[in-house]
Symmetry: C3
Subunit: 244 residues, 3 copies
């Protein structure tokens, strides 16, 4: 199984070419679009989002992750084996929250070669997809070289920031809800946002936070867009405070 | 084969997680996205649309249908075997047009258990996908319990309402064209809308109705958006009248 | 493997029904969405785009291509075997750039029958998908009839026009970059657009052209939309000139 996580969007021939490369080399493997609107050009926020999804799903197979503003530059391409699943992507922090969370004995990080024929602008198709196919077929990469350092190796397990705004305007943070008591919450524009179990528990138009389906603190407004109502976007800081 | 029919949209990690659960449990089954812009939060209209698509396709396998404004509330989750195909979804009317249309001997309706670990907000991933996988693998659900009542059991076979507006602005109704003579049609804003075979048969800018590719009465305007030109949206009533 | 290339968009139950037909008849074949926002109603421009993608991918299997403003009219449906891959679509020029580029000994063009039950408005589902499934299973079509003429048989190998604008506003042309020296480029609004290797080589806000990942001349603006900044859209002519 391949799982794709990118900021390519659904427009254009980009996702399709990545999938065509995978399906040509691995005709019997399924290919799942995890999402293609990961935070664009923001590998750090995207990395915390991917880690939360993966933590819940515990997938096998190979995850192809591409949020890569530095494509064509000197940044390395890496593959990481974490708890029995492979992750392939740029070395720009996108995979760091996943790698960091694993115990040292259960992870291995490799640098990937750049194929001769690779274009300068489309490493998803030319670098990451071929590497993912090779890992799916053989469980290893020719000329693989293990590394002990990667971008984001020193990042914390949680970040108190907006990491994603979904199609409903719900605001996902990089803070795992299990680390936060219900008596805490963010203060936004001077207003404390308290916890609720779910939408039905608050009045329409009221902002609240809840533990979302991938275990993160998510800020929502019943029947409205929290992002719009609270003026929040990806990258904004959200300091959490203790309420009375 | 799994067929997905939801109002999740293509944004966000929602459809992807449902598919990851299915592919993990049933690696050799194909997963088809039937559509993800079913009428949002409108299980009734979505149900008539799904029934028309399914009636045409006569698919095998398992259809996972999720249009579920009551997620997290007490509404039941059900599975229905209809003419050799399984349907899984909330008991809010979404599956009623399909179940009602089947002869009693060829249908069976079950309630689904809610797994202990299920989140409050994402039953597509936590309730419906696991049940669909179990049905695909075993043709039955552990602890299944047959029921004789479901929401929408008394609904008619056709509804004279807008059930969907597509990307071109074409207006799909819940009325099967085979039940309507060509001498009838809707009156909208005092204007009768007459039948045509296809777009090429009417002048640009003219509204008409035709039997669409899934057998429903569809209202269109040649080279324009019928929804915009006629001011129609999902849920609007469309009484049909006999013309001269 | 099936590869889908259409202008259907991701909305509505259209792509999903095509895939359901394919998956029902060929359960073990993978189905890849190459793109669904091909230039709408413009089979000529779409054809040059498809040819460039296919030239790069060299896929096997069956490509189902549908950009078909004449659906329901008398235009023929065709299948073309080109270099070991099948292409199915309307005979309106969409497949011409691919067929024309193949050497005569490695291509074969057939007309497709229209199934009795086919709807007037949805040949993607009712004509092209069934033919694609038959080709995938048997490598031939019942009642196939070879033809020597097709719409666009006399078209050139390159067209100096905009053939696609992607989600970032990058402007793809129908000119293969390998045919153009770096000393040439388009003049747009009196301004010459010179070549660069990639985005990082030009200042933000500057327009340039480069060889894109499928080998075409693409016009881009670093950190902005070239289409918007230069006022370009699909179909516009782009005469290339020799600079200095």
């Amino acid at each position: 199984m391949f799982l794709l996580f990118t900021d390519f969007g659904w427009q254009g021939p980009y996702v399709g070419q990545v999938k065509a490369v995978l399906a040509t080399r691995c005709p019997t493997h399924s290919i799942i679009d995890l999402m293609h609107d990961a935070p664009a050009f923001r590998p750090r926020e995207a990395g915390y989002l991917l880690a939360a999804i993966v933590h819940w799903l515990k997938p096998g197979g190979v995850v192809v992750a591409v949020v890569d503003p530095g494509v064509g530059s000197a940044r390395a391409a890496i593959a990481a084996a974490v708890d029995g699943c492979w992750f392939v992507g740029p070395d720009n922090g996108l995979l760091a929250p996943i790698i960091n969370a694993a115990v040292v004995e259960h992870r291995q990080v490799l640098t990937l070669p750049t194929p001769q024929r690779a274009s300068a602008s489309f490493h998803g198709r030319d670098v990451f997809a071929p590497a993912a196919a090779e890992l799916a077929l053989h469980g290893a990469i020719a000329d693989q070289r293990e590394i002990m350092q990667w971008v984001g190796r020193d990042w914390p397990a949680d970040i108190d920031q907006v990491i994603y705004v979904d199609g409903y305007g719900n605001v996902l943070t990089g803070r795992r809800a299990a680390t936060l008591p219900c008596s805490m919450g963010p203060v936004i524009g001077g207003q404390p946002v308290t916890a609720a179990r779910t939408f039905a528990d608050v009045a329409p138009g009221t902002a609240f936070w809840y533990r979302n389906s991938i275990g993160l603190v998510e800020i929502a407004v019943n029947q409205a867009s929290a992002a719009q109502q609270l003026g929040l976007q990806v990258g904004d800081s959200l300091p959490f405070q203790q309420f009375a």
